[in-house]
């Protein structure tokens, strides 16, 4: 049963709850074992060992070697480091391939490269199909002789659509081009095996998207990949990322990765079933509701649904009255006056783009919550449509 003060959290692509086991693992490292892992004394050194364990756990989740894991402050830092590193290492190459639906961490960076590097760059932003997928042929055709790096997200944060990054990376590799993937939304939700996906040179992940705290991220750099640090300072992370380690959060992230390794099956069975129930229920009970993104080539936790002729912010604020948390791609919630760049790139019509709601679940959601949302949503949408001039004139 849902109680009136229960929070129904379905915004896990925005951020996640820190898992209780993660909090428990972190606690001693605030005020008991607070040493600096770089110190010579045993008190600090023992913390270094825990950081190494965390690195091992991250590597296991990705099927990588611990030496390929660099701890950073967030997914955005990892993205910036990878792309700028690739450009610095190959200063004669001035072309970048990315997509029109990247997260701002990659999109805005690619749009600012000229002023950051002092060189003129050409950026190809790949188009996506109306279901949000990428055409591999079009990708192949976009590669040029001086393409320095390809940066394509593993899964889209708004629609959950999964891109064929393993194949894309293979194609890039055959052309001698570095490949980066922003896997912030994919890690922990779908299996990732970097020992097999050998074309991937860089991968970014973010702690707070997989039940670790905010303020910690990872950049995976494949052995042998040319690399230049972004944050320059001390010898931490073998000189690849300066700055004293965010020890407690790194240890928390290690635990979260261990949990993710264990939960990956549940994500793709239980969570997927809950998501499907929610999605099918909404599409069935609410007229003029449209699923955004490919039906199957999609993260198991994400459902992005447009309710035509109503506006997303208004929907979210009505949901908020019932403590239901989700996101919208509407203009009024994007901080700009235009709806989500992802939905626009997919060609979602305006009748739908402004009324898109993203539900993103986690292993902490349950069926009662799904039922509660399914019970409340039709009334909210009907109420707003009753007010909408377009609903009456459709």
């Amino acid at each position: 049963m849902i109680k009136s003060d229960d929070v129904i959290y379905m915004d896990n692509n925005a951020t996640t709850m820190v898992a209780p086991e993660v909090v428990e693992t972190m606690m001693p490292y605030f005020s008991e074992l607070y040493g600096n892992p770089s110190s010579m004394h045993t008190f600090g050194g023992q913390v270094g060992k825990e950081v190494a364990t965390a690195r091992q756990r991250v590597a296991e989740l990705l099927c990588a070697d611990p030496s390929e894991i660099i701890f950073t402050s967030c997914g955005t830092e990892s993205d910036s480091t990878a792309i700028l590193s690739a450009l610095q290492a190959q200063s004669d190459k001035r072309h970048i391939v990315t997509t029109r639906v990247e997260h701002p961490a990659v999109k805005n960076l690619c749009e600012s490269l000229d002023s950051l590097t002092g060189h003129k760059h050409r950026v190809t932003q790949l188009h996506v199909e109306s279901d949000g997928t990428i055409d591999l042929k079009r990708f192949e055709d976009s590669l040029q002789d001086d393409t320095a790096i390809v940066s394509v997200m593993w899964a889209n944060n708004e629609t959950g659509v999964i891109f064929p990054v393993e194949e894309m990376a293979e194609i890039a590799k055959s052309r001698g081009i570095l490949f980066h993937t922003d896997a912030v939304q994919a890690v922990g939700k779908i299996p990732i095996d970097l020992s097999k996906a050998t074309g991937i040179d860089f991968l970014s992940l973010s702690g707070h998207k997989l039940h670790a705290p905010k303020g910690v991220g990872v950049l995976y750099v494949r052995k042998g990949t040319p690399y230049a640090p972004f944050v320059i300072g001390g010898h931490q992370e073998h000189g690849r990322r300066g700055g004293t380690e965010n020890v407690t959060s790194i240890i928390g992230l290690g635990k979260a990765c261990e949990l993710a390794t264990r939960h990956i099956k549940k994500e793709n069975t239980t969570v997927r079933a809950l998501r499907d129930k929610l999605e099918n229920g909404l599409l069935k009970t609410i007229p003029n509701a449209i699923l955004n993104g490919h039906k199957t080539q999609r993260l198991p936790n994400t459902a992005n649904i447009s309710f035509e002729y109503v506006e997303g912010e208004a929907i979210l604020l009505h949901m908020d009255r019932f403590n239901i948390c989700a996101s919208s791609g509407s203009a009024c919630t994007s901080g700009s006056l235009e709806p989500s760049h992802v939905l626009r790139a997919m060609g979602v019509p305006f009748t739908a783009a402004h009324g898109s709601i993203r539900f993103s679940l986690s292993v902490y959601n349950n069926e009662d919550e799904i039922d509660f949302v399914l019970e409340k949503m039709p009334g909210i949408i009907a109420n707003l449509r009753e007010m909408s001039p377009f609903w009456h004139n459709r």
Binding site: Y309, V310, E311, G312, E313, A314, L317, H318, R321, S330, A331, C332, G335, S336, L337, E338, P339, F350, T351, H354, E386, M387, S388, P389, F390, W391, H392
Partner: protein, 280 residues
């Protein structure tokens, strides 16, 4: 999350006067689906056709758009048409106990719907709609923008966007918005360099041309009078120079700069250039 006042929340969650009026005396429709908000306002007048006896609305939009519509209908019921005409977007925002600045355009939409409904009753065309469309993304005309600048004392492009949405899409009209601000505020700021068209040149080209004109024409003339000139900087349309020698102490140096140097540079490099003397 937006910081909405309690009154905005109340009018959003419990909107007053939602719906249609059968056989209305006036209907005003503004906004569009593409823009993300739209308002249709219905007015019913008394028998003398002077006073608004009922007002209802249909709105597609965010919380502040719905709240502004609801507030508007509450405010105008009982007013004469002449009184209603005087209601401004600021009045709507005040009624709601303020709106976030990014949401001011919602109150502007309310006021525009009211004007459209009154014009519809009177059978006249609103002059606003007849202006030149400046922002193609949101279909905003120069007349609408100028009025917002004037009435709400807007000073920056960002403020114009907050109030009218103009410039909030592709951003191509930002230069034109700045021009309109300058026009209304009678500021004699330079026109920005056009981003397209035959006159477009890179900064380096511009600097080179300026140097060339100074070297070839200006300097020899000044030197005849024992003066000299040095280019210090080029910042957008501003050409910062330093006058040397006799010119440096000459009382007429400002006239020399404007009447001679600036004129030459405008003729030969770019007609929007403004020459200023270095303050250093």
């Amino acid at each position: 999350m937006w910081e909405y006042s309690d009154k905005v929340k109340d009018h959003f969650l419990n909107p007053r006067n939602v719906g249609k009026i059968d056989n209305p005396d006036g209907v005003g429709e503004v906004g569009s689906l593409a823009c993300g908000d739209a308002l249709k306002l219905f007015l019913k007048l008394d028998e003398a056709k002077e006073r608004i006896v009922d007002a209802k609305f249909q709105t597609f939009g965010c919380a502040s758009a719905i709240a502004s519509s609801s507030a508007l209908t509450e405010m105008i019921k009982g007013l004469t048409l002449d009184e209603a005409e005087k209601v401004t977007n600021e009045d709507i925002a005040d009624f709601l106990g303020d709106l976030p600045k990014e949401k001011m355009h919602c109150s502007v939409m309310g006021r525009e719907a009211l004007e459209a409904a009154i014009a519809n009753y009177r059978g006249v065309t609103l002059p606003m709609a007849e202006g030149e469309v400046v922002c193609e993304c949101f279909g905003v005309t120069d007349l609408e923008i100028k009025r917002a600048i004037e009435e709400s004392h807007l000073r920056t492009v960002e403020e114009v966007t907050n109030f009218t949405k103009a410039g909030g899409g592709c951003g191509k009209c930002e230069d034109r918005l700045q021009e309109l601000i300058d026009e209304v505020r009678h500021a004699d700021r330079p026109k920005p360099i056009p981003m397209s068209g035959p006159k477009r040149m890179t900064n380096i080209q511009k600097i080179k041309k300026i140097e060339d004109v100074l070297e070839r024409e200006v300097r020899p003339t000044l030197k005849k009078d024992g003066g000299d000139i040095e280019l210090i900087d080029v910042d957008g349309d501003f050409v910062i120079v330093s006058l040397r020698g006799a010119c440096g102490s000459c009382a007429k140096s400002q006239t020399t700069l404007k009447e001679y140097v600036e004129k030459k540079l405008r003729e030969q490099v770019l007609e929007t250039l403004i020459v200023e003397e270095s303050k250093a």
